[in-house]
Every structure is written in structure tokens, then in C-alpha cells.
């Protein structure tokens, strides 16, 4: 009881409850996604971003219910379309902090075609991908990151497909910030969300999470707890090749920052076009942003 009271006081004092909505999350007890709500609230609070200047855009899926649980602006859009919608929000108003959130099915199955383009454009948004390797909202079917051999209602004998490697894909697409975290380590997750959001440009944070309801055999807290390990301290986060090697090492690959390099954002490039055309740039408030 003492522990609970202390924890409650810590959360109340932190100021991050300010960013939570009154709606209670609809996820199953024990779901890894609770840690992410807390992590994002913490990051917004830590970075001092006003809630009215924050837009959280999601697609469809368990994780895509995320915007409802924050007291910010939000768009709960279509299956697979969080990234292009978020791009539109950011292009329209550079003063906004824009997050895209979604699951492995939303991002790497139906929405996969948008990934290379948002990465190459370096749209200044943060993409939080909640990877539980399963379609939870439709009750446990195979996803593009499900393990080979995994049995689900749509692969009752076994999943015949190799899983995708999202980290390797995002690195090769040229994302300017790529990292991985794990829902079972909330403190690491908080720190990584802050880092991802502080990055100026497209940041991709891959978050490993179990589905406690529909996956009792593969990606469980037990299995992940035994295999998750940190990125070695010696890793050079400006070395794309080294980052790609990390992404192919281990199942799952380590958690931490893989790659982080500054380069001009889509907004910078569009401003450049305005200057080239002899136009006048609109006035902006300029969002305060922690240095990386």
C-alpha cells in the first residue's frame, strides 16, 4: 500500500496527468500499450509541449485507439493511413508537434507503402510503432511481424511467412532517427520517446509489446524479458551500416538508439522552394525543442 501511495503521488506531482484524457483505455489488463500512454504523457510534459499544440494521429487497431486516451488534438483515421494524414497536419502547421501511432498491421501491412516516402521526405513527426506481432482488435490473426510457425485463426496449421524486419526497413528507407524500446521496461520507453520526439525530422520508434490475450506462446513478457538486451554502448549512432547490422542481430534485436543524424526536414525543403520562387515565408511561432 505504501508503495502504491508513493507511486500515485509521484505521478500526480509529475504533471503528466495533465496530458491524459478522462477516457479510460480500452485495452486488456496487462497490455503493453498502457506504458506507452504514460510514456507519451511523460515526454510531452518533459519537453514542455502545450497540449493544444499537439496532434496525435493514428490508424486502425488496438494501438490506434491511443489518441482517445490523451487530452490533445487527435485524429483516429483509417487503417494504414496515419502517416500520410500526419504529414498533412505537419505540412499545414509547422508549429504543431505531430505524433503518428499505430500497430504492426496498420504500419507494415496495409500502410507499408507510405513508410519509405515519409522517411525519405524526413517529415518532422514521430512515429511510435507498437509491435505485438498480432492483429489484436480482430481477435488474434497473423500480422506481418508474426513469427514463422506461429498458429493463429488465419494460420491454423502455422504461419508460413517470414516476419518483416521493420528496423532494417526504416534504416534502409533513410529514416533520420531509428530506435527500439520495450513495453516491459517503462523507464527505458519513457526515455526513448523523449529522445524520438526531441529529434528534428522523422523519428521511428519501434516498441516491442506482448499481446497478453491472443499470444500465450511467442511474444510474451516472459520470452521478451529473457531476450531483450540493450544496444551496446560502443554503437555509433551516426553509422548507418552499423545500425543495419544491429537490426539484423538477434531475435529480437537490441533496444536503444540505432541511428540519429540531422538532415533537412520536409518543412525545410518546402521553405527552400518558397525562397527559390521568391515568395514570402509565413510567420511561425517556432516550437521550442530540446536539443538532441
Amino acid at each position: 500500500m505504501v508503495y502504491l501511495e508513493e507511486k500515485l503521488k509521484e505521478v500526480q506531482d509529475s504533471g503528466r496527468l495533465e496530458y491524459r484524457s478522462k477516457a479510460l483505455p480500452t485495452w486488456c489488463p496487462g497490455c503493453g500499450y498502457f506504458a506507452m500512454v504514460d510514456g507519451v504523457a511523460h515526454a510531452l510534459n518533459a519537453l514542455g509541449i502545450p497540449k493544444e499544440n499537439t496532434v496525435v494521429v493514428s490508424g486502425i487497431g488496438c494501438s490506434s485507439r491511443f489518441p482517445f486516451f490523451l487530452d490533445t488534438f487527435g485524429m483516429h483515421t483509417l487503417h494504414g493511413r496515419a502517416l500520410p494524414t500526419a504529414t498533412g497536419v505537419k505540412v499545414a502547421n509547422e508549429d504543431l508537434t505531430v505524433l503518428a501511432v499505430g500497430g504492426d498491421g496498420d504500419g507494415f501491412a496495409i500502410g507499408c507503402g507510405h513508410l519509405p516516402h515519409v522517411a525519405k521526405r524526413n517529415v518532422d513527426i514521430t512515429y511510435l510503432l507498437f509491435d505485438n506481432g498480432i492483429y489484436g482488435l480482430t481477435k488474434g490473426q497473423t500480422s506481418p511481424t508474426s513469427a514463422k510457425g506461429f498458429k493463429t485463426p488465419t494460420s491454423p496449421y502455422e504461419n508460413p511467412d517470414q516476419p518483416l524486419n521493420p528496423l532494417l526497413m526504416m534504416l534502409s528507407y533513410g529514416a533520420s532517427w531509428v530506435g527500439q524500446s520495450y513495453a516491459g521496461q517503462p523507464d527505458h520507453l519513457k526515455e526513448m520517446i523523449v529522445k524520438a520526439m526531441a529529434h528534428r525530422g522523422f523519428s521511428y520508434l519501434h516498441i516491442l509489446s506482448p499481446c497478453v490475450t491472443f499470444d500465450k506462446t511467442h511474444r510474451t513478457y516472459g520470452n521478451l524479458g529473457m531476450t531483450v538486451r540493450p544496444v551496446p554502448a560502443s554503437h555509433d549512432t551516426t553509422n548507418q551500416n552499423a545500425a543495419m547490422q544491429l537490426a539484423t542481430g538477434g531475435d529480437p534485436p537490441p533496444i536503444g538508439v540505432y541511428y540519429a543524424v540531422p538532415r533537412p526536414t520536409l518543412g525545410d525543403s518546402l521553405d527552400g522552394l518558397v525562397m527559390k520562387a521568391g515568395g514570402e515565408l509565413p510567420r511561425r511561432r517556432g516550437t521550442a525543442r530540446a536539443a538532441e
Binding site: N53, T72, T85, V89, V91, K276
Partner: protein
């Protein structure tokens, strides 16, 4: 004689500079003070030997479409021109190369010119080689010949040629000017036998307006800019691409942003994202792209986010006929998405209408918080007309309904069920305005809610609020022409085909048939009262349109429960005025002989 009404046809092969010559000619005619309407036809391939046609009609009085017969034809390639000789009227002129390097497979063009048509041979290639040392300026020499033959003002052409070739250096411009002048001298010296005569133009430009020679897509761009477009997201597709191309040049000059996306789904998603952020945003596409956008347009309706989609139709279904015109995406525009997803759909009938609809689409998207589709077609997108524009934008820069301060905060209801259905909308950046929009059915707060009562209330809201579009300020929803009382035949039409309808109506009136016509610009919400009243006045109602199934006729019949007579054609080119006239005569009980072809 009647006021000037002359149609010129230039036919050549891809690479002959046919469209370039047509472009100079129509601009010069506009510069000289004539009203011009013009439409080109060319093959889908960039190179090769496909047929290119530039057609233009210069008039004193306002014309509404091209004529079926031309007064003058200029051939730059006889093999392509010979099949079009019949398009030239009696005592009209055919201009051609008198010393061709080789005959066309059908023989020399003079063998095909009918008695009564007047042939004019000109040594186009020889003159070009003499003037410029190359035969590359054949099209300009030929243009000069035509201008000289009809005594068109040389200065107007010089100005256009200078403007056209300036980018490629002063020397290129002066060489082309020389080619033009040599051709002009030859034309002016030719013995003129035909009865084509350009009367004095009437440059009666209203004060405070500027006349521009502009096509439908360029007019859309002008409308976007005058309405203060902030963001555009698009993916190339014929025949809508030139909207994006032109905006890509113009928007940065105004400090605005355009992004070429990876597909149409992304384009509409970003457009709606930018609309949510409170800006005026748009995309442009054709039928295939519209199909891809349907799901996201449904979200636009559900989430009540403003967006504007320009759809330039082409021959369908599937990839269809990309460089041919058609009006077959009406069903898709009206009913393409799943669920009960009402949206605003409008279709301009001429180039000026493209400008007005473009600007008003942004107003309406904002005022009624919904997607707005503006339906164009290839014919309208690529059709040039002289349009007089005012110097001030006629569009409202901000018609948003914003929440009052006291309504913001924890209790803010983004989707409040209010009178008229348009709830005050906060946008990101507004303190206390935080809310979530969702594709799920939701309550007034925007939270998921699927009770029968809430679903009904929200369905009603999304439909009812669109009624405002029927009485939107300064917008022509329908317009009636011709007989104002009872009429034997009423033409009810939408989109680009309305011009042909008006021309047919004028001809029917000359034959003594009581004829009326109504253009329907607003297609959703459907102007039931106005259309019904028009139908009350007409003994028979004819609906001409360029699609196979009679999509608009079905809309009218389905909405009003009244019969109309369909006239459907899918030739890939504009409807023939004579087809419409034939139907009018039939319905009026006249059994007159068909007009001469």
C-alpha cells in the same frame, strides 16, 4: 453579314508543332479582341506519328461550344488532314503544303477537296527553309500564311511569338518572327476566293476586368489561388496533372506548400490532415484516383473535416481512355464510398465556371465542414476560353464557424448537435479546443458511440448541414436559359456538355421549336425544387451526357421520381450538337431532315 463566327482547324502529326501553332493562333485571336473557345485533341503517346488537332472558334458574341463544321482548315500533315476535309463547310478554305516531299498514302490533298471548298496551296517548307535555313518552322510559316490570308493583326502574333520563344533566347524569337512574316507576306498576296471574313473585333472589356485566354485546369488553379489555398497534395494523372504542375509553380511564390505524394490515398489523407489543421487544402485527380480516395473521403464526411478534390474525368472504367473525355464518374463522385456518406459535389459547365467552382469549393468545404468534389472532365480541363476576370478575388478568405471562448475547455463539444448541423470547430493551436476526430460513429464530444439514437442524430446532422450549399452566397446552383414559360423540349444537363446543349437550343429556336435548357451545377445536395419546377414547364425533358448508362438521368429520375429522355454518347470527344438537335426535333414532333454533316 453576321458578326464574326469563324472556326479554324489545324491538323498535323505529333512533332509538327500543331498544338504549338494552335496555341499561338488562339492567343493572338484573343489578343486581337475576339472571344475564343478552343479544344485540342492529341494521342496518348508523347512521340510518334499520332494525329494532333487544334480547333478554335473566334466570335464576337459569346459562343458555348465548338461548331460541328469548320470554316478554315490548315493541314500540316496531309495523311492526317485528308479524313477531316469533310469537316470544312462549303466556301470554306483548306490550306496545305503545295510542294510536299512525298504524297500522303491517300494521294495529294487537292484530290480530296470537294467542289465548293476553296484550296490554298502554299510552299510552306520552301519558305521555312529560305527564312530560317531549316524546315523546323513550317508550323509558324503556315500560321503566318493563314494570318496574312485573312488580314489578322500582325502585331498580336508578334507579341505572342516573342512571349512564347523568349525563354529559348532572343534569336529563336526573331527567327520565328521572320518565318511568320514570310508566311504572312505569302498569305496576304494570295488571291482570296472563300467567303471567310473576320469582322472588326469588339474588345468590350468591362472596366476593372482583364481578359485571359485560359483553359479549365488553369482556371481551377486561379480559383485556388484567389481562394487562398494553403496546401496541395497530389499524384500525377491525366487529365488533372496540369492543375498540380501549375500550382507547383505558383504556390511557392505565394508562400504556400505543395507536396507530390506517393499515391492518391496519401494525397487525400494529407489533404484531410491539413484540413484538420485549419488550412485550405486540396488535391486533384481523375477517375482511378477518385476510386482510391473513396475510403478517406468517407472519413472526411464522418470526421467533418474540410477538403477539396478536383476530379477531371476521362474515359472509364479502369484505365479506360486516358486522353479521351467522358462524364462517367458522376456515380463515383456522388455514391463512391461505403455507408451513408453525403458530400458536396459540383460540376462547372465552362471555363469561367471552373474558376468560380474552385474558389467556392473552398468556401463550402469550410462552411459545411465536409469534402467537396469538383467534377471536371478532359474536355473542360483542356478547353480554352477567353474569360474576363475581375482584379479582386470574389471569394471569402475565411468562413469558418469557430467556437466561442466560453464553449471551449473540458466540456467542448466538437460535434455539438446544433441547429443547421454545423458545429463550431476548433483547430490545433486553439487552447481548450482539444478533441479527437474519428471514423467511428461518435457522440457530440467525438467519443466512440454507437447507440441507435446517436447514429441517427449524427446521420441527420451530416446530411442536413449540406443543405446550406443550395443557398450558398453568390453561387449559381442551377441556371435556366431559353424559353422562360412552357417549352416543348427542355434540356437538362451538367458539366461540359451543357455548352453543346445551348448551341443545340439556339438552333432549335431558329427552327421555331420552343426550347429551354437548365444547367445543374450543384449535384449534391441535389437542387430538387429548381429542377422539378423546370420539368413542370417542359413537355419533354432531354438529358444529354457523355456516359453509357445515363448517370445524371438516373439521378434525376431516382431523386424526383419523374421520367426523362436519355441521350448518352461515349465517343471520347464532345457530344455532337446535331445529335442533340436531332433528339429535340424528334421530341418536338418535327420530322425535319438531318443537318448537313
Amino acid at each position: 453579314m453576321d458578326a464574326t463566327d469563324i472556326q479554324i482547324l489545324i491538323v498535323g502529326s505529333a512533332g509538327d508543332g500543331t498544338i504549338a501553332a494552335g496555341n499561338i493562333l488562339r492567343q493572338a485571336l484573343a489578343e486581337a479582341g475576339y472571344k475564343v473557345i478552343s479544344f485540342d485533341v492529341y494521342p496518348p503517346e508523347i512521340r510518334g506519328f499520332g494525329k494532333c488537332i487544334a480547333r478554335m472558334r473566334a466570335t464576337i458574341a459569346q459562343a458555348y461550344s465548338l461548331k460541328q463544321q469548320s470554316d478554315v482548315m490548315l493541314s500540316l500533315d496531309d495523311s492526317h488532314a485528308i479524313p477531316h476535309v469533310g469537316e470544312v463547310r462549303d466556301w470554306g478554305a483548306v490550306l496545305y503544303e503545295s510542294k510536299p516531299v512525298a504524297n500522303a498514302p491517300q494521294g495529294h490533298i487537292t484530290g480530296h477537296i470537294r467542289p465548293g471548298q476553296i484550296p490554298y496551296g502554299c510552299a510552306i517548307r520552301e519558305i521555312s527553309e529560305k527564312a530560317t535555313g531549316a524546315n523546323r518552322s513550317r508550323n509558324i510559316v503556315a500560321l503566318g500564311y493563314l494570318a496574312g490570308l485573312y488580314g489578322l493583326p500582325r502585331e498580336a502574333f508578334h507579341a505572342i511569338i516573342d512571349r512564347q520563344f523568349k525563354k529559348r533566347g532572343a534569336e529563336v524569337a526573331s527567327v520565328n518572327r521572320k518565318a511568320f512574316d514570310e508566311g504572312y507576306a505569302a498569305g496576304a498576296g494570295a488571291f482570296k476566293l472563300d467567303d471567310v471574313a473576320f469582322g472588326p473585333p469588339q474588345p468590350n472589356v468591362a472596366p476593372g476586368t482583364v481578359v485571359e485566354m485560359i483553359n479549365g485546369n488553369a482556371a481551377v488553379v486561379k480559383g485556388c489561388l484567389d481562394a487562398g489555398i494553403d496546401c496541395f497534395f497530389g499524384y500525377p494523372i491525366t487529365p488533372a496533372t496540369t492543375i498540380m504542375e501549375r500550382l507547383a509553380t505558383e504556390m511557392p511564390r505565394h508562400g504556400k506548400r505543395l507536396v507530390q505524394t506517393e499515391d492518391e490515398i496519401s494525397a487525400i489523407s494529407a489533404t484531410i490532415g491539413a484540413g484538420f489543421a485549419g488550412t485550405r487544402s486540396a488535391t486533384a485527380t481523375s477517375g482511378p484516383g477518385l476510386s482510391l480516395m473513396q475510403e478517406m473521403l468517407g472519413l472526411g464526411t464522418m470526421a467533418e473535416v474540410p477538403s477539396v478534390v478536383f476530379v477531371s474525368q476521362r474515359g472509364g472504367p479502369s484505365t479506360g481512355m486516358p486522353t479521351k473525355t467522358e462524364q462517367s464518374d458522376l456515380n463515383s463522385a456522388l455514391f463512391g464510398g461505403h455507408g451513408d456518406a453525403p458530400r458536396i459535389v459540383m460540376a462547372p459547365t465552362n471555363v469561367e465556371g471552373c474558376y468560380r467552382c474552385a474558389g467556392k469549393a473552398f468556401e463550402m468545404a469550410e462552411a459545411y465542414q465536409t469534402p467537396v468534389i469538383v467534377l471536371l472532365d478532359l474536355y473542360l480541363s483542356n478547353r480554352y476560353e477567353t474569360v474576363a476576370f475581375g482584379q479582386k478575388s470574389p471569394f471569402e478568405p475565411d468562413v469558418n464557424k469557430r467556437p466561442r471562448k466560453q464553449d471551449l475547455g473540458a466540456g467542448y463539444k466538437r460535434f455539438a448537435l446544433v441547429e443547421g448541423g454545423v458545429s463550431p470547430r476548433a483547430v490545433p493551436g486553439d487552447a481548450g479546443g482539444m478533441h479527437i476526430v474519428t471514423g467511428l460513429e461518435h457522440n457530440e464530444m467525438g467519443r466512440p458511440a454507437d447507440s441507435a439514437e446517436m447514429h441517427l442524430a449524427m446521420c441527420d446532422k451530416r446530411l442536413d448541414k449540406l443543405k446550406g450549399a443550395l443557398v450558398h452566397p453568390d453561387f449559381t446552383v442551377t441556371k435556366r436559359f431559353g424559353a422562360m414559360g412552357k417549352a416543348a423540349v427542355g434540356l437538362l444537363a451538367w458539366g461540359s456538355t451543357f455548352g453543346e446543349c445551348l448551341e443545340a437550343m439556339f438552333q432549335a429556336e431558329k427552327e421555331g421549336i420552343d426550347c429551354a435548357a437548365m444547367k445543374v451545377v450543384m449535384l449534391s445536395p441535389f437542387p430538387e425544387e429548381a429542377v422539378s419546377a423546370f420539368m413542370d414547364d417542359c413537355a419533354a425533358v432531354l438529358v444529354p451526357e457523355l456516359n453509357h448508362d445515363g448517370q445524371f438521368a438516373r439521378l434525376v429520375q431516382g431523386t424526383l421520381g419523374r421520367k426523362v429522355v436519355k441521350l448518352t454518347r461515349v465517343p471520347g470527344v464532345p457530344m455532337r450538337v446535331s445529335d442533340i438537335l436531332g433528339e429535340i426535333r424528334r421530341l418536338a414532333g418535327r420530322n425535319l431532315p438531318q443537318a448537313a454533316e
